[in-house]
């Protein structure tokens, strides 16, 4: 059986491999190639070297602004999402009435598409700011906190479910033993719960970092970059570069490659760091 498996594994792998190559690998390589060209459609590209990369950083201040805005946004939202999700998970793993109901409720926002969420929150935030005679486009701060709030609302439930699964895996003997030894609830949390859920922290950090970095539809629907592109994040800026200027498609593509490298690098470093902290059960 084992031997047979080995013999046939290329054949069973083939369909997946073929579709992976067609829908991911080829477009990816083409994308990198296009970032070095000037093109209107993928078929009529002419080679221009690294000109696009130079333009992306020198002639277009929007890119660096968007990068800075995205970094600020990611830091704030990753911290808030994970803290809130973890606290909720702690609360909802207690023996309380209706925990199953609340878990469902908190998870539900995650099932709604980003663009819809963006428009809904746009209406909600505008109607509140409207009382004071403003709207979300008035200041970049409103847009920033609106986005943070929106992403929190959307992702907390999802992260909470992961944390709950992990919390429930902690053997109850550990907690009991600690309590008999006279540990306070805080030191149980500090020395047992948190080390035991580190694998979940790794996953949740990874998901929240990449999701915040790559945020697009929520950004487009909630602020659209207003005022004056101050709230446009990297993905939206790439989109606008691609379609906003004639002959700048290549620059958009170059920005996208840089974007990919940044996201890959950050999530790689994060995975390295947090997985080192995981403890064996």
């Amino acid at each position: 059986m084992e031997k047979n498996m080995k013999k046939y594994f290329p054949i069973f792998l083939l369909p997946t491999l073929v579709s992976f190559v067609i829908v991911f690998f080829i477009p990816f390589v083409m994308g990198i190639y296009l970032s070095f060209t000037r093109f209107t459609t993928v078929e009529n590209a002419t080679w221009v070297g690294i000109e696009n990369y130079i333009k992306a950083f020198t002639q277009d201040e929007n890119f660096l602004n968007a990068l800075w805005f995205t970094i600020k946004f990611t830091i704030v939202s990753v911290i808030t999402i994970n803290i809130c999700a973890f606290l909720l998970a702690l609360l909802l793993t207690r023996a309380l009435k209706g925990t199953a109901f609340f878990r469902t409720v908190f998870f539900m926002p995650n099932l709604i598409g980003g663009i819809v969420l963006g428009y809904i929150w746009n209406l909600l935030i505008n109607s509140i700011l409207g009382i004071f005679g403003y709207d979300i486009t008035y200041s970049a701060d409103y847009g920033f906190w609106g986005l943070v709030f929106l992403l929190n609302w959307q992702l907390i439930g999802y992260m909470m479910v992961i944390y709950i699964a992990s919390l429930q895996n902690i053997p109850s003997e550990l907690n009991e033993a600690a309590r008999i030894d006279g540990a306070t609830p805080f030191s149980i949390l500090r020395h047992i719960t948190i080390p035991m859920v580190m694998p979940a922290v790794t996953i949740c950090l990874f998901l929240t970092i990449t999701n915040s970095f790559k945020l697009f539809d929520q950004n487009l629907a909630l602020t659209g970059g207003a005022p004056a592109r101050e709230t446009s994040m990297l993905a939206l800026d790439i989109f606008n570069t691609f379609y906003g200027r004639i002959g700048w498609q290549g620059v958009g593509q170059a920005k996208a490659v840089v974007f990919f490298i940044i996201v890959a690098l950050i999530s790689f470093i994060q995975l390295k760091i947090t997985s080192r902290k995981e403890v064996e059960n």
Binding site: P15, V18, E43, D135, Y138, A226, P227, R245
Partner: protein
């Protein structure tokens, strides 16, 4: 045995994947049906009339046997859709460019149209997109914009006892000063007139601000280019001083200060809302073009009567503007894909000529598409009946006024327009002063013209 079987299976799976691709390529290359009839694709720009094009395709198929496949890009997504489709086997044969700038982007795909029947029948040859004597875009619809007003409300104002102006009819409004006096006094009396404000909301949400960053900005740019005798196809369009910025400010201030909406919240208003306000009689005036008729007419409980919808030129205090007319022009040009097969290109040219010359086609154009078509195949009676189109034709044929062309087709890029729209929003919200707006305008124009 089993081994051979599974290898065979694997090969078959791969084979089907690749034959799938192959078949498509073949179709893409010829697009010819077995009976010698040809299929052409058209990527439509105007979503509001997408269903009409389906009927046209059916009628065209019945009369000629050729198949026309019409696809429509979502509002504001034409360039994206076109770029995505051009790279595929189902690339459109007929597509649309928005003027010289659009041509610059799609020049590898635009066929020379100077020998087509449709171009020969174009009444105003200067409207076409021409480079070095070759024609790459044929305008197929002429549109006009200005300030649309509801005569019922202005008449009500003229009959008002409390009014503090001397005006008795809209014919007396011939320049910015009179317009300003009228509007400000109407705003004071808005309760008695039963309106929320004189002007509909100045929609400044991103993507909904084209009425200002493109249409309204056209007028100061026109005056500046006109004064300097700028050749629109030359590099002289690459710099601008925004000399008439004060005039732009005049009218823009008038719009945002005498509106249904507080100017601080204009950043979330969209065009549909403005048109709804006008249709429901909540405001007396709105700046827009004749394409807006379907929006006005399509709103439930629309209170505006067709015979009361009139146009006023956009006055902004330029010398001699008493003779100014509406802004009439086009940014809709047919282009034919030069990479399609010759047969397809020929049928594509036949189709656009058929649409604007055959009895069936002309009927669709006048009654359903409601285009003012710039071709001599149409007689004076064969014109759309909707009130705004009628008004545009009336202004166009009025020899006493100068029509302002659509010079915004040479605006440097979409990014320029978006940046200017964003500046206008910040100005309306009070976070940017006019000097900065003006500086941004010239700076962005220069950057984007490179």
């Amino acid at each position: 045995m089993k081994k051979i079987l599974s290898i065979l299976m694997a090969i078959m799976i791969i084979a089907t994947v690749f034959t799938g691709c192959n078949r498509n390529e073949n179709q893409g290359a010829t697009q010819q049906n077995s009976d010698g009839k040809t299929t052409v694709r058209f990527l439509n720009f105007k979503p509001e009339i997408a269903t009409v094009y389906d009927e046209i395709a059916k009628a065209y198929n019945q009369e000629t046997g050729n198949t026309l496949i019409v696809e429509t890009a979502a509002s504001g997504n034409y360039e994206q859709t076109l770029a995505a489709k051009m790279g595929t086997n189902e690339a459109p044969t007929i597509f649309q460019i928005n003027g010289p700038k659009g041509y610059a982007n799609w020049q590898d795909y635009c066929a020379d149209l100077s020998n087509t029947e449709l171009y020969k029948h174009l009444t105003e040859k200067s409207l076409a997109v021409t480079v070095d004597g070759k024609v790459y875009g044929i305008p197929y619809v002429v549109e006009g914009y200005g300030i649309i007003y509801n005569k019922e409300i202005t008449d009500k104002y003229f009959a008002l006892k409390e009014k503090s102006t001397e005006f008795k009819s809209m014919d007396e409004i011939k320049n910015f000063d009179s317009l300003k006096k009228l509007v400000e006094d109407m705003q004071k009396n808005s309760e008695k007139l039963g309106i929320k404000g004189v002007f509909a909301s100045t929609s400044l949400k991103t993507g909904e601000d084209w009425r200002w960053h493109t249409h309204l900005a056209n007028i100061p740019v026109y005056y500046e280019f006109d004064e300097n005798d700028v050749d629109l196809s030359s590099d002289a369009t690459k710099t601008i001083n925004f000399k008439y910025s004060e005039n732009f400010k005049n009218i823009f201030d008038l719009y945002i200060n005498n509106s249904t909406t507080d100017k601080k919240v204009l950043g979330s208003k969209i065009v549909d809302e403005s048109m709804a306000e006008f249709a429901l009689g909540q405001c007396a005036m709105v700046q827009n073009g004749n394409w807006a008729w379907s929006q006005i007419n399509g709103i439930d409980k629309n209170t505006v009567k067709a015979e009361n919808i009139k146009y006023l030129p956009i006055y902004m205090g330029v010398d001699g503007e008493e003779k100014q007319g509406l802004c009439i022009g086009t940014e809709n040009f047919f282009a034919i894909n030069s990479k399609a097969s010759e047969q397809e290109q020929k049928v594509a040219a036949d189709f656009i000529y058929w649409l604007f010359s055959s009895e069936t086609g002309k009927k669709f154009v006048n009654e359903r598409l409601e285009f003012i078509a710039p071709f001599d195949t149409f007689s004076d009676e064969e014109r759309p009946k909707d009130p705004l189109a009628q008004e545009v034709i009336k202004w166009m044929n009025n020899a006493d006024v100068t029509t302002i062309p659509w010079n915004f087709t040479v605006f440097p890029s979409q990014t320029f327009k978006e940046d200017f729209g964003a500046s206008l929003l910040q100005y309306a919200q009070g976070t940017k002063n006019w000097e900065q707006v003006k500086a941004d305008f010239t700076k962005s124009w220069k950057n984007e013209s490179q």
